[in-house]
């Protein structure tokens, strides 16, 4: 029944808006367009990396995808099944298959419980396992994520950041999910520990046939982990394609600026990389600019860009961008 090419997750013009303030506050009720018109297809076994500046809507989109947030507009499909407005009880059987890992593992781990217990928790809530089976599964999970059996009796604060993230990952994979959404899972970790977790995620993906949606602000980490990336700007996807291609030849002016700004270790006497420095600041999602939302900062904006919003279009097989004048190589 499982068709490798059939999308596991799909969004159609998905939008998430937040209302802030009240009609009595100084500025009245206002709407934050956090995610706007996102159509994204995720296939089984791949890793889709989400990148973009702070506040562009990565976390909000991630939370919509696992239905931690209600979706304002558009559709969300899981294995072709419309789950946009399923109730919590209808979602219950799906919960197990859709998991999420957050940036700060300590915030999601109860400090007063032993980590063995914390990893067992999802098994108790969702599974139909006996106490003995649960113990065996916890042991297996500890081994999978590279923790030692005698770690089980410890409390979260007795662990390093990297080990706590391993606990968070063990919890997320406890119920054999199909899709794991990872929101900045390595951002709080020391550089030397980051690589361990990146490798662990790759191993688990291979062993357990997982599909990932991966968010990180470190672009070289995203490139390493992802098969495909989606670049977001002010709530929308502006470019999408195979990770290595997009990094090598970004076509959207925003992706070009973003990738060129990543500081890299260079051993040449003077930097050879050309850097595009964007002027202006990220506009507010309360009042998105007209036309192309990037136009106030775009180095090549033309009149058309100010009035007409570009759609995300497939300009080359597998490469999509939302720009009237993409750089196609």
């Amino acid at each position: 029944m499982i068709d490798a090419d059939r999308p596991i997750l799909e969004t159609r013009s998905l939008a998430k808006r937040f209302s802030i303030g009240t009609r009595f506050s100084a500025e009245g009720r206002r709407t934050v367009h956090a995610v706007d018109n996102v159509s994204l297809t995720v296939r089984r076994g791949e890793t889709v990396g989400l990148v973009g500046e702070s506040g562009c809507g990565k976390s909000t989109l991630a939370r919509c995808l696992v239905r931690l947030y209600d979706i304002t507009d558009g559709k969300l499909l899981f294995e072709g099944d419309d789950i946009t407005s399923k109730s919590l009880s209808e979602l219950r059987p799906l919960r197990r298959r859709l998991q999420m890992v957050f940036q700060d593992p300590s915030a999601s781990l109860n400090p007063r419980r032993r980590v063995g217990d914390l990893v067992a928790e999802p098994l108790r809530i969702h599974g139909k396992l006996s106490a003995k089976e649960i113990a065996a599964r916890v042991a297996e999970l500890f081994e999978l994520v590279g923790l030692l059996p005698d770690h089980m009796m410890r409390y979260p604060h007795e662990f390093s950041g990297g080990q706590r993230q391993r606990v968070g990952i063990a919890r997320a994979i406890a119920l054999n999910p199909d899709l794991v959404v990872l929101d900045e899972p390595v951002s709080a970790l020391d550089v030397s520990v980051q690589a361990q977790i990146v490798n662990l995620l790759a191993d688990l993906q291979e062993k357990l046939k997982l599909t990932y949606i991966f968010i990180a602000h470190d672009l070289s980490v995203v490139r390493q982990v992802s098969t495909r990336i989606a670049v977001m700007y002010l709530g929308s996807i502006v470019e999408e394609g195979p990770a290595e291609e997009v990094f090598a030849t970004p076509a959207h002016p925003y992706s070009q600026a973003l990738i060129s700004a990543v500081p890299v270790v260079e051993t040449t006497p003077t930097g050879t990389r050309k850097r595009i420095i964007l002027t202006g600041d990220v506009p507010s999602p309360l009042k998105p600019p007209s036309g192309c939302r990037f136009h106030p900062r775009c180095p090549i904006a033309a009149d058309r860009c100010r009035s007409e919003r570009p759609e995300l279009t497939e300009h080359r097989p597998g490469r999509k961008m939302a720009c009237h004048f993409p750089t196609l190589t």
Binding site: E53, D190, V221, S260, A261, V265, E266, T267, I277, D281
Partner: protein
């Protein structure tokens, strides 16, 4: 020579015993030179610079060693004198710009006050200077920006306002502690560009703390790598990045995923995690994670030795 630090030691008395946060750090800084300080969380980057600035106020702290600024010893200097130096010749920028800004005043007013406190100029003159400074740090509309409150600025603009404030005294020494860590790469690129330009124009010497090897390689003339309270390697930018010697520096550089070219199937990761300063391992502090550890490594902590490009490692000393 602007700054010369010798055998700096900072320790804190805690419930669990003494924490030797800085354990014998020495470095020099020349005029208009940018020194990059890299290292993981807890390696002692901030504490060493706070010590230099005379800003360690914890009563449980003990500071030893020598810190000479333009030949003048700062360790033991009365707080009043230190404060004068900080406002006049030494400026600081921190990760969170709000540590330097007050929410209730406009940024124009705050920078002007800073100028007036240290240079007895008129209010109008100070305001003129503020506008110049804001233009210099790339505010698109400096005159208008002067009347904004910090919360009306984005994170990147706030940090630029703090840089403008730091520059208002034409500092001979600028100390920046992770000033771009909380910012987006696109905004960071602008700030790094600015620091480079300012160094050229004002001839300020800069100490730039970061944990990002990429940032260091783009900005610094010389680099100091810290691990568990000590400098484990120092050298010029070129020496450090094209010929890293310390196993930790090498491993750290190796574990950064590439931005171009072939992706490795797995990243060469460093096992374990940085040690607790309360329970340092026997011998070399990097020992338990070191791929090339051998017997001598347990005998004591390796010294950095002299030399412009130096690494604190028994293997390097032997080679």
């Amino acid at each position: 020579m602007i700054l010369s630090v010798r055998d700096l030691r900072v320790s804190f008395r805690t419930h669990d015993g003494p924490v030797r946060a800085i354990d014998g750090v020495s470095f020099d800084l020349e005029e208009s030179e940018i020194l990059g300080v890299v290292g993981e969380s807890g390696s002692g980057k901030t504490v060493s610079l706070l010590a230099v600035m005379g800003l360690i106020t914890d009563p449980n702290a003990t500071i030893q060693g020598s810190i000479r600024y333009k030949g003048r010893e700062l360790v033991g200097l009365p707080p009043r004198e230190l404060r004068r130096l900080r406002g006049n010749e030494i400026a600081m920028i921190f990760q969170d710009p709000m540590t330097a800004l007050t929410p209730v005043y406009t940024i124009g007013w705050q920078i002007a006050e800073q100028i007036r406190a240290h240079r007895g100029v008129s209010k109008a003159k100070a305001m003129e200077r503020v506008e110049e400074l804001l233009a210099e740090v790339n505010f698109p509309n400096p005159h208008e920006a002067m009347s904004r409150y910090p919360h009306q600025l984005s994170g990147g603009m706030r940090q630029r306002a703090v840089i403008a404030m730091a520059l208002s005294c034409d500092p001979a020494l600028l100390v920046a502690d992770e000033p771009t860590t909380a910012l987006d790469v696109t905004v960071q690129a602008g700030i790094l560009d600015l620091v480079r330009k300012l160094r050229a124009k004002h001839k300020s010497a800069v100490v730039f703390i970061t944990h990002d090897m990429g940032v260091v390689s783009e900005l610094a003339d010389r680099v100091m790598v810290m691990y568990a309270g000590r400098v484990v390697e120092r050298g010029t930018r070129m020496e450090l990045f094209s010929d890293p010697r310390h196993p930790y520096t090498r491993a750290l550089l190796g574990s950064i995923p590439p931005l171009t070219g072939q992706k490795p199937r797995r990243l060469p990761a460093i096992p374990g995690s940085p040690p607790s300063l309360l329970r340092l391992p026997q011998g070399c502090a990097f020992g338990p994670r070191c791929p090339v550890r051998y017997e001598p490594c347990e005998s004591g902590r390796p010294g950095l030795g002299g030399g412009a490009h130096a690494a604190a490692c028994f293997r390097v000393a032997q080679a």
